[in-house]
């Protein structure tokens, strides 16, 4: 097998999507290799989020167009292998910060070891001592860091980031973008980050791609 092919985490071949007869995009092609952080730059409404949702299986796709580690994943359940960070941080209000992070843990540890894991992750993302905090007490930036900590703990083979900093102010966006790159690189994670902010894309990614380059034809949704 070709060495480059074996390193491919995701490969999208001529992917199309339409909703109710309206074409969102067609002929989309993308390759992401292991440990690579790709940023995709595109205007709002061009279909970036839809593409991410198709990759992680939340949106239907026709077969033979999305390959995850060389396996066609269209229509198959791959939950747990690919992570997604939404635009708005999704934290469950019935759980505190620590228990939200533990949802990302694949291991079932005892209370003590779970707390150690949580503290380690919180320390890593710069929020030590936040384990017992309630979700509603977090600022937007803090909430997004907690989501990031959970995603890092889950350690998916591919992490998708859907404009995760768009709700933050410019200063926080820049600093969190830099830190996110640091976190992802330190854990040797593969990621696709979509955004409409060029500066943010450059701060996070190894490689910045334009949406137009990926598609032969685009229509807004």
């Amino acid at each position: 097998m070709d060495k480059n092919i074996s390193k491919r985490v995701i490969e999208i071949k001529n992917l199309d999507k339409e909703f109710d007869g309206n074409r969102i995009f067609n002929n989309l092609n993308l390759i992401v290799e292991e440990n690579q952080i790709i940023a995709i730059l595109g205007p709002s409404g061009c279909g970036k989020t839809t593409m991410l949702r198709m990759i992680c299986g939340l949106e239907n796709c026709d077969g033979d167009s999305i390959y995850f580690k060389n396996q066609d994943i269209c229509g198959s359940d791959i939950y747990g292998k690919i992570g997604l960070i939404f635009q708005k941080p999704i934290l469950f209000p019935h759980l505190n910060v620590g228990r939200n992070i533990l949802l990302g843990s694949k291991l079932k540890g005892d209370k003590k070891s779970n707390m150690e894991i949580v503290e380690r992750e919180l320390e890593f993302i710069g929020l030590p001592g936040f384990a017992k905090r309630k979700i509603e007490s977090l600022s937007g930036g803090e909430a997004q860091r907690v989501v990031l900590a959970r995603a890092l703990l889950a350690n998916p083979e591919l992490l998708l980031l859907d404009e995760p900093f768009s709700a933050l102010d410019v200063k926080s966006r820049r600093s969190l973008a830099k830190e996110t790159r640091k976190f992802l690189k330190s854990r040797k994670m593969t990621a696709i980050h979509v955004t409409h902010d060029k500066n943010e894309a450059e701060l996070v990614a190894d490689l910045v791609l334009n949406w137009e380059e990926l598609c032969s034809q685009n229509k807004t949704d």
């Binding site: 747990g80 939404f86 469950f92 019935h94 694949k106």
Partner: protein
């Protein structure tokens, strides 16, 4: 400034007076009743509770009550949850009509439900036609009976099905809003995390924490309603008593010195034990409700539904079966009022006729005609409406005023006072008035308005529950703007308050009339003069008569049809004017 201060003092005084008067009218009759029973039996309340299990009848009734309540709640959940799930998660055409139809049982008078289920299980009814004989317990039901050794299995099954029918809407209306307003991204997020990668993981980490409190809260309320059910128990399981029905049956001779002291002992013991159980259950419900309210209404219902699409065929089947189950007993009531069963030469024949309606309208076989009983019911309902609406509105305003001035503890106390009648069943309220007032002042027996008192006490909590959220959502800027325009105080009140509260007032009004028309437990205990019998009492009287005259049964069904139709119209009115909100809710 002074005028406004004086006005505040007056309105404060009125509000506190109403709150105290309401609290006293709930507590005092019951307290006096307990004192009376203690005095008649010579047993203290504490001793009565301790010796509860020495009363075989009471012990048996408690066992049966707990058993039927637990079975009823379980069946309600089994039938109600799939309906709530389907309704809450998918985009249904005419969802408001489906919701309304599924809610009908909850507002139907219990006596109508009892008639519907008697028609369902009766000889020649749909169940007996498909070989399920719940009444005489032959065939499959007979086999179950002999296998389990449980007597009256058929009647027991009929009772729990009837309770499930009655309470399904409670499950649907409490669980559905949680499902329909839950952010779909939570579901997506949990699927992408290790803790939710399996179906079990998603149930454990997402579904149970979110809909669990709503289910638990609805179950606790179902438990309370089935625990205190009277008309259904009286008619569907005549050989078994619940605490409520035993108390009602013993109540007539209780509280009289040197006469049937045993019934006084039973009533005192049951009353106290039931009070403890109900307060515990309602306390639990209130805690669950608070937990539940924290975890729902996260996104707009329509956007959540859109993301999940249209229901599949299985979902449509579930909703269709649910609707048939809801409407069937009611249809049977109507149908049974036109069918007269006669036996000629040993052969049963059914004749479709209007004779029962004519007889019921003429007052044959009963103390009153349908029209007279209906007019009594309407008089009671209208008096109840005037008092309950006024008291409920004033109490809701008091709670809001206290909340606004930061007196949260006082607001909570007033709220608890307003809900107090729910902790006391209809029969207990009726007995409270019978033993607490009438036994002390026997001349009041002749006062025709006595049944109105329990009707007011039982309907006011619903008014408070409906009015309070509406009053809380009033925008003060309208009042300020009206004042700035120089309008008179009454015009300010009309334009900034009344005009915004017309919807909730109409909903409250419709429900008050519907509940008062259908109230059975307290009225059954208190109505002593035949000329003031209500429609629900008339139906009970007719059904209680020997069925030598083939018209008696369809006449009772005709009465039930009238009561059902009136309730249905009032319910439709309430649904039409119900303020539009996200999720269904109550």
């Amino acid at each position: 400034m002074l005028i406004s201060k004086e006005r505040n003092i007056i309105s404060n005084s009125i509000q506190w007076t109403v709150v105290f008067a309401f609290g006293l009218s709930v507590a005092l009759p019951l307290l006096y009743a307990i004192i009376r029973l203690e005095s008649v039996t010579g047993i203290s309340s504490l001793d009565s509770i301790i010796s509860f299990f020495e009363l075989p009848e009471a012990k048996e009734a408690l066992n049966f009550t707990i058993l039927e309540s637990l079975f009823s709640v379980s069946l309600t959940l089994i039938l109600g949850l799939p309906l709530a799930w389907q309704l809450g998660r998918y985009e249904w055409k005419h969802i408001s009509i489906i919701r309304s139809l599924l809610s009908i049982p909850f507002v139907m008078p219990a006596i109508v439900a009892a008639m519907g289920f008697l028609a369902l299980i009766g000889q020649g009814g749909p169940l007996s036609k498909v070989g399920i004989d719940l009444r005489t317990e032959s065939g499959v039901i007979g086999k179950i009976s002999s296998l389990t050794g449980f007597e009256n299995t058929g009647h027991f099954i009929a009772l729990i099905i009837a309770h499930a029918w009655f309470n399904i809407s409670l499950i649907v209306r409490m669980v559905e809003p949680t499902l329909s307003t839950m952010d779909p991204r939570w579901e997506e997020q949990i699927k992408l995390l290790p803790a939710g990668s399996t179906r079990f993981g998603r149930i454990k980490n997402l579904w149970l924490p979110f809909i669990g409190p709503a289910i638990a809260c609805a179950s606790a309320l179902c438990f309370v309603f089935t625990f205190t059910s009277f008309a259904l128990v009286k008619w569907l399981t005549p050989n078994n008593s619940t605490l409520e029905s035993l108390m009602a049956e013993s109540g007539g001779t209780a509280g009289i010195y040197n006469y049937r002291v045993d019934t006084s002992e039973i009533v005192l013991a049951i009353c106290l034990v039931q009070l403890i159980i109900l307060i515990t259950a309602l306390g639990l419900t209130s805690r669950l409700q608070r937990k539940h309210s924290l975890r729902h209404a996260m996104v707009s219902e329509s956007s959540a539904r859109n993301s999940r699409g249209k229901p599949n065929a299985f979902g449509k089947i579930i909703i269709t079966v649910g609707l048939i189950f809801t409407l069937l007993p009611l249809m049977l009531v109507i149908l049974s009022s036109f069918i007269v069963r006669t036996i000629k030469d040993g052969k049963i024949s059914n004749e479709f006729t209007f004779d029962a309606w004519k007889g019921a309208w003429n007052g044959d076989n009963s103390t009153l005609s349908i029209s007279e009983a209906l007019s009594n019911s309407l008089i009671y309902a209208l008096i109840t409406l005037i008092f309950s609406l006024t008291i409920g509105w004033i109490m809701a305003s008091s709670i809001h005023r206290l909340e606004n001035s930061g007196k949260m503890k006082s607001a909570k106390i007033v709220d608890m006072v307003s809900m107090a009648p729910l902790a006391i069943s209809a029969v207990m309220i009726g007995l409270g008035i019978l033993l607490g007032i009438l036994r002390w002042i026997p001349t009041m027996f002749n006062w025709f308005l006595i049944p109105v008192i329990p009707h007011i006490l039982l309907t006011t909590p619903f008014v408070v529950r409906i009015m309070l959220p509406a009053i809380r959502s009033l925008d003060n800027s309208f009042e300020e703007q009206a004042k700035m325009l120089g309008l008179s105080p009454i015009k300010v009140w009309i334009h900034s308050r009344l005009s915004f509260l017309l919807g909730p007032l109409a909903v409250s009004g419709s429900l008050i009339i519907a509940f008062s028309l259908g109230e059975f437990g307290a009225t059954w205990i208190l109505v002593r003069s035949g000329s003031w019998d209500t429609l629900s009492i008339l139906i009970d009287q007719l059904m209680g008569q020997p069925k030598f005259d083939p018209l008696v049964y369809p006449m009772a069904m005709a009465g039930a049809t009238v009561l059902m139709t009136l309730t249905f119209v009032l319910f439709l009115l309430a649904e039409k004017v119900r303020p539009n909100g996200e999720g269904s809710g109550f």
